[in-house]
Amino acid sequence: VRRGGVRFAAAVRDWGVVIAVSASVKAEERYATAYEALWSDVFRFALSWTNDWAAAEDLAQEAFARLWREGDRVDWADSVLPWLIVTTRRLAQDRFRRLRRQLTIGGDERPTTLGEAVTDRWLDLRDAMAVLLPLERAALVMTAVDGRTYEEAAELMGTTAGALRAAASRARRKLEDAR
C-alpha cells in the first residue's frame, strides 16, 4: 500500500494489528535531524512544566516517540517544535492525571542521570520553582531564560501572548514572595 511515498505493511497478531512502517530514508533523516536539534528544547519545556527531572526526560522521549509514530501526519514544512511542545504538554497533563489518580506524590528521588555535582543545586532550584504552576514556570523559562518573545513562546505552546505575559508576571510575584 502506498501512502504519501511511505510504504506500509500490516502485521496481524490475533485480534490486534500492528502497523509496520518501512519508512523512507528521508523520513529517517528528518526525524534524526529533529531529534538532534530539538531534544534540548523539548526537555527544557518538559522540565519547566513538570519541575521533575526524570519525568521531563520521559516526556521528551515519549514526545519524540510520538513524532516517530505519527511523522506522516506532521507538517514538516515548518518547524516541528510547536507540535512537540504541545504534545509534551498534553503528555504531561496525562501524566499528572495518572499521578493524581494513583495518589502518589513523587519528586523526592534524586535524578539518576544528573551529575552528582549539580544534583543538589537542581533540588534547590526545584524546590524554589515548586511554588509556581506549570504554565507560570514554562512562561518564565521560555521568555526570561530562553529569550523568546511572548509571541514566539505563545506560538510554540499553542496559547496566547496575553496568557503567557500574565503567567510570567504572576510567576515573578510568587517568586518574590516565596522566600
Binding site: 505493511a9 500490516a10 502485521a11 496481524v12 490475533d14 519508512a23 526537555f43 504552576l133 500574565a166 516565596a178
Partner: protein, 522 residues
C-alpha cells in the same frame, strides 16, 4: 524577606545552567524509540503472509471487512455467539481515538470504557466506523444502547479468548461488554466528527459540567454541545417538541434547557428530546406583529426561572418554579422604566437600565426592589455582581448589591462585559461563577457594539483581578464550568476551554454548524 529581581534572575540563570547539562539519551534511546514502532523485515514478511491467510480464510468479523476490522487496535468483538449474557443495559456515546485505535463507550459521567461488541460486528479504519451485524453503522458521537454489562477490562478479554485491550484504551479499569447476540439501538449524532474534536483535542481531568446551546433561529434547529459526554447533538423540528415560530432565545444550566419563541417558553428537563413544559408569562405582553420582549433567565438553584418583559414604561417580572416538572407562579410585579436582565443572584434578579446614567437594580424573590446602585452590572454571579461605575471604576458586591469592593485594573483599558450571546441580540448572558466574575478590559472604544479585543479577566470577591486569556476582536461569550475550574470562550463559533488552574487554553475549533449561533452556556 522578599527576593529581589536580581535574586530571581540569578535563580533563573542557575536553572538554565543546570537544565543545560541534560543530554539527549542519544543513539540508544532513539533506537529504542524506533524499535517500538518499526518492525524487522522478517516480521513484515510474516505480516504479509498473515494478511493473506486471513484474507483467504475470512476469519474476520462477518459484519465488516476482515483486514480493516483488525486494523483498529482497540476493537474487540465476541468471537462467537453462544447466546445469553448479562442483564444490564449498556448505553452511552461512542468515542474514538483513531491514532490509538481506541473505541470507547462514554457514559453520562464522562467515563470511557473500551467495548466488546456483539458477534458479527466489524470495524473500518479511516474514518473509524463500526458496522453491526444488521448493517447499522456506528460513528463517533453516536449513542448506542444494548444488553450486556460492565466488567473488569482484563477479565473481559481473557474470558472471551481475545487479545487484551491496548493499555491506552483502558481508562476506568472496566470494559463495557455487549452480549454476544445483543441488538444495538443506534441514535445518530449530529455528524460532526467528534473523533477529531473532543476526543483528540480535549481530555479534562474530570468531565466538565457545561453545555453550550446554539440555535438556527429560522430553522428552529438547536445544537447542544455537552462537555460531560463529549457530544454535540443537533435537534431539528420533529426530533424535539419545537416552538412553531422563529426562536427568540435559549438558555441552559441547572438541569433545564429553555427555548422561547413569540412569548411561549419551552423548558426541557435535561435533554431536548424530552417532553417540555410549555407556558407563557401571565400577563403576556405582546403587540401583534412585533416580537415579544420576553427574556428567560434560570435562577441559581435550577428550579426557578425568571421571566422578564421589558416595555417602554415599565417592566413585568415573574418568577416561576419548575419543581417536579410543573410550573407554579411564585411572584409577579411591575417596576417603572425599561430594564434589561443581566443575571440572577441567590437574592433575586439583577437588571440594568441603559440610559445616560446607568443604574443596576435588584428585584427580590418577593417582588420588592431590594437595592439600586449607580453603574451597570457587567457580570452577575450567584453571590454577587461586578458593576462598572460612571467614572470607569469596577466594584464587586454581595448578592444584595451591597458591600462593594473596588477592583484595580490589572492592565490598560476599559471594563466591559464578556457574557452574552455571540450574536447582537438581547438574549440572556452566560452564567458566571458563584463568587468570581468574568469581565474584559478592552483598549478600544468600549461603547461600541462590536467587541474590539482585550484581556479576559477573572475578578473575585476579594478584589483580585487576573487576566487569563487574550480575547480577539469580534464576537465573544465566556462562562464558567459548573465546577468553576474551566472557562469556556466562544469567539465567532470557535470554542476554547481555559484552565483556571494554569491559564492554559485548549482550542476545540468550531463545534457547531455554521448556520447556528451560540446563544448561551451554563
Amino acid at each position: 524577606m522578599k527576593r529581589s529581581d536580581d535574586d530571581i534572575d540569578t535563580l533563573l540563570r542557575d536553572w538554565d545552567r543546570v537544565a543545560s547539562t541534560a543530554t539527549p539519551p542519544a543513539a540508544d534511546a532513539r533506537r529504542s524509540v524506533r524499535a517500538t514502532s518499526a518492525l524487522p523485515m522478517s516480521l513484515v514478511v510474516f505480516a504479509a503472509v498473515a494478511i493473506a491467510v486471513v484474507a483467504i480464510t475470512g476469519r474476520g468479523g462477518p459484519g465488516g471487512d476482515a483486514g480493516e476490522s483488525r486494523s483498529v487496535a482497540g476493537f474487540r468483538v465476541h468471537p462467537s455467539d453462544p447466546g445469553g449474557g448479562m442483564d444490564a443495559i449498556v448505553a452511552g456515546v461512542v468515542e474514538t481515538d483513531p491514532a490509538a485505535g481506541c473505541v470507547w463507550l462514554s457514559d453520562s459521567d464522562g467515563a470511557r470504557y473500551p467495548l466488546v461488541w456483539p458477534a458479527g460486528t466489524g470495524a473500518h479504519a479511516d474514518p473509524l466506523e463500526i458496522e453491526l451485524a444488521d448493517g447499522q453503522v456506528v460513528r463517533s458521537g453516536d449513542r448506542v444502547e444494548g444488553g450486556g454489562g460492565y466488567v473488569d477490562a482484563a477479565s473481559a478479554t481473557r474470558g472471551l479468548g481475545l487479545e487484551p485491550f491496548p493499555p491506552a484504551c483502558v481508562q476506568a479499569g472496566e470494559a463495557a461488554v455487549f452480549n454476544s447476540s445483543s441488538q444495538i439501538t443506534v441514535t445518530a449524532g449530529v455528524g460532526l466528527v467528534l473523533a477529531e474534536t473532543l476526543v483528540d483535542r480535549f481530555s479534562p481531568p474530570q468531565p466538565i459540567g457545561l453545555e453550550l446551546v446554539a440555535v438556527n433561529a429560522d430553522a428552529r434547529s438547536v445544537a447542544i454541545v455537552d462537555f460531560v459526554t463529549g457530544t454535540v447533538h443537533r435537534y431539528e423540528p420533529g426530533q424535539y417538541v419545537a416552538p412553531a415560530d422563529v426562536l427568540d432565545g435559549a438558555s441552559g444550566g441547572g438541569g433545564f434547557i429553555h427555548v422561547w419563541a413569540n412569548g411561549s417558553i419551552y423548558s426541557y428537563p435535561g435533554r431536548l428530546d424530552s417532553e417540555p413544559l410549555v407556558y407563557q408569562p401571565d400577563p403576556l405582553r405582546q403587540t401583534p406583529g412585533i416580537a415579544s420582549t420576553l427574556e428567560v433567565l434560570p435562577a441559581p438553584d435550577g428550579e426557578h426561572t425568571w421571566l422578564i418583559q421589558p416595555g417602554d414604561d415599565d417592566t413585568l417580572i415573574e418568577l416561576v418554579s419548575l419543581v417536579e416538572v410543573r410550573v407554579s407562579r411564585l411572584m409577579s410585579t411591575a417596576i417603572e422604566g425599561s430594564w434589561q436582565p443581566v443575571g440572577s443572584t441567590v437574592e433575586g434578579i439583577v437588571l440594568v437600565t441603559d440610559g445616560p446614567e446607568p443604574l443596576t437594580r435588584l428585584v427580590g424573590t418577593n417582588g420588592a426592589i431590594q437595592a439600586e446602585v449607580q453603574g451597570a452590572a457587567l457580570s452577575v454571579g450567584w453571590n454577587g455582581a461586578a458593576i462598572v461605575h460612571p467614572d470607569g471604576s469596577l466594584t464587586v458586591t454581595d448578592a444584595l448589591l451591597g458591600n462593594p469592593i473596588r477592583i484595580d485594573k490589572p492592565g490598560e483599558g476599559e471594563w466591559v462585559a464578556v457574557g452574552g450571546p455571540v450574536v447582537p441580540a438581547t438574549s440572556p448572558p452566560a452564567r458566571t461563577g458563584t463568587d468570581r466574575f468574568l469581565v474584559a478590559l478592552t483598549t478600544d472604544d468600549p461603547s461600541g457594539s462590536f467587541f474590539s479585543g482585550g484581556d479576559l479577566i477573572v475578578v473575585d470577591a476579594t478584589g483580585a483581578a487576573a487576566p487569563i486569556y487574550e480575547l480577539s476582536a469580534g464576537s465573544h461569550l465566556a462562562s464558567w464550568s459548573r465546577g468553576e475550574d474551566w472557562v469556556v470562550v466562544v469567539e465567532d463559533a470557535s470554542v476554547t476551554l481555559i484552565s483556571v488552574d494554569d491559564g492554559s487554553p485548549t482550542p476545540l475549533g468550531v463545534l457547531v454548524p455554521d448556520s447556528h449561533w451560540v446563544l448561551t452556556a451554563g
